[in-house]
Amino acid sequence: MDVGIDTASSSRSPHHQHTTTTTTISTAAAATATSPSPTEEDGEDPLLPGRSSRPVTSGVDQNQNQWGLAVSASSASATSSSESPKKTRFAMDQGTQGSAGQQPSAQVNGESPEQTPPSDEELLKRLEEANRLLEADEKSRAVLSALSSGTTPGHSRKGSGSSIVSSTSSNSFYSTQNSAENDDANGQSETLWEIWGRIINDFDTVKKRPAFLKELVRKGIPHEFRGMAWQLVLGVHDSPWKLEYREHMKKTSPCEKLIRRDIARTFPEHDFFKEKDGFGQESLFNVMKAYSLHDREVGYCQGSGFIVGLLLMQMPEEDAFAVMVRLMQDFRLRELFKPSMAELGLCMYKLECLIQELLPTLLVHFQTQNFDTSMYASSWFLTLFVTSLPLSLARRIMDLFVSEGMEMIFRVGVAILQMCQEDLLALDMEGLLKYLQKDLRSRFDQDSDQDNLLTTAYSIKYNHKKMKKLEKEYTALKTKENEDQIELRRLRTENRLLRQRIENLEKVEARLLRQNEVSSPPYHRYDYFCFRLY
């Protein structure tokens, strides 16, 4: 399937189009992952689990492959996208380099025997065409060289223009954060690394042990493995949705204008997304557009962009698309984002019931302050905490979400309130709003607090049966409310009609009265008046 092609082209796509050295993807990624540079035969196709039996290095390979894939897949998608010419050039141009003889060792990585890439002639033709296009576009050249320099350690970051700076920094979404998280976790997650390295190469075996997998995910997925791990856990690593994505790229969505308007407002301060019409913004636009075409009923709903944004920080567009489709379809996100947002009301109701049960004092305080659940928790559900908590923590919550679903959002929500209860009890409504809408990021900035929060979340009593019951209750409540509304509307209409009748009758009466005045002597009028009184 297409994966093979991706990986193959990915091996060609890395970065040295504008580098002075012949640095390969392997070394680039190895340096990123602070791991030894692999030899040629280290390469394994990450999507063909079970082919590797070397635990530690295979993990590293995986990471490299994933990186390679990351670059390639988005370029592959761009290949089919008439709307992403820059990326098309990127992929193709890079590829030319590869086929022109400076073949990085990683090429071997991608070429698994059973997955043959397009014929050399065909590729070459496409690449040459792309090269020609690239030469016509100096701007994308600059961006490309920036990308290369950013991911190639030791390469001098020469060049000019702000695009270099921003693109370089945007690269951190794949690399810098990794090493940061890596460093601090080095001691304890050495073994986690090994384990995940093995798991990713042999996921089918682990899949049969869901309890083990769940526990393992709760310990946290090493950052380098996240992109692949999320896909594997969700079972979309070889999903046909990735092919579908390419089809969507050729189409136009009715939601495009709407999506476009929100792109710059999604992660406006994040390096990857802040550059106007930059790579990050374009990727985000592409995935959102593809989703709106995939699911016409939901189309585009504000909030979902933050989730896709988080995914794009870990993986290329078509992978992010496949993950998003799965999350929407099978994790109730779709229900949340449907036009009526009925599910959000249910989430609020359930969360409130949980708070009432577990933190009753806090709920009373909220109620006295007229502090409604929707004031702080809407975004918790709609963006899975991405807009409320530090990104490092949001990523960990995403680990848990793909593994355990919406339950985790409730658990984390209650855990936040539990940990902050003392602070919250001292605040009035405005203070509460500021605390829960703005200050949570700094409150959970530290690793230790993040660990505490998740440990607390795991310990929250979450009764599935009760939650099911609450769902039924809520549905009944809503049905009743609807019926009441209908009844109210009926009564209002009836009332209006009666009032109209009264008015009409009064008019008739007034007219009769006037006629009486004209035709009768005064005493008659007096009689009439008495009669009315009577």
């Binding site: 709407l258 929100d262 710059a264 407002r265 406006p268 709903c301 504000q302 929707s374 807009t387 809408q437």
Partner: protein, 212 residues
Amino acid sequence: MSYAYLFKYIIIGDTGVGKSCLLLQFTDKRFQPVHDLTIGVEFGARMITIDGKQIKLQIWDTAGQESFRSITRSYYRGAAGALLVYDITRRDTFNHLTTWLEDARQHSNSNMVIMLIGNKSDLEARREVKKEEGEAFAREHGLIFMETSAKTAANVEEAFINTAKEIYQKIQDGVFDINNEANGIKIGPQHSPTNQGLNVGGSGGNQGGNCC
């Protein structure tokens, strides 16, 4: 912080018309060209002075997309004022005003003061809705009207303050029942109904705006 009255506002209108930017300009006196997307509701507050009285404005900023209406609706209740915003450079945002107005009228108390705002008046070259059209719509529906620019701050103070003046006038006229918080008006903690107006003092608010 001491105030004579607290007025609750809600800001409504299509997505991208500049609701959050108007609020930020009013509360923080700054313009952020790329504002974070509003998911659900956000909040801002500021003190102003009307007729020598400190009045606190508590402002709810809502998400503009249609899907969020079910959340937004619950904020109409308990609002004394609404800023209904459209973008003068986008005709469609003007065309949707009727729907917004219907929604607002249906879910709010009948005395709620509504200020119609044509925002982005700095973008004259891209104007699609004439000022006269805004005025006519406001006249027809009994709204107050202003054109503002959250970017240059033109008329932003005035929009918020004039709405407050209108609410204040309604209180003076006895239209609003100030003892019913559902009307979006609260009397300050130290201002009992018997001595209100006498006990004005304390700047309190994070921003001490002045009446225009």
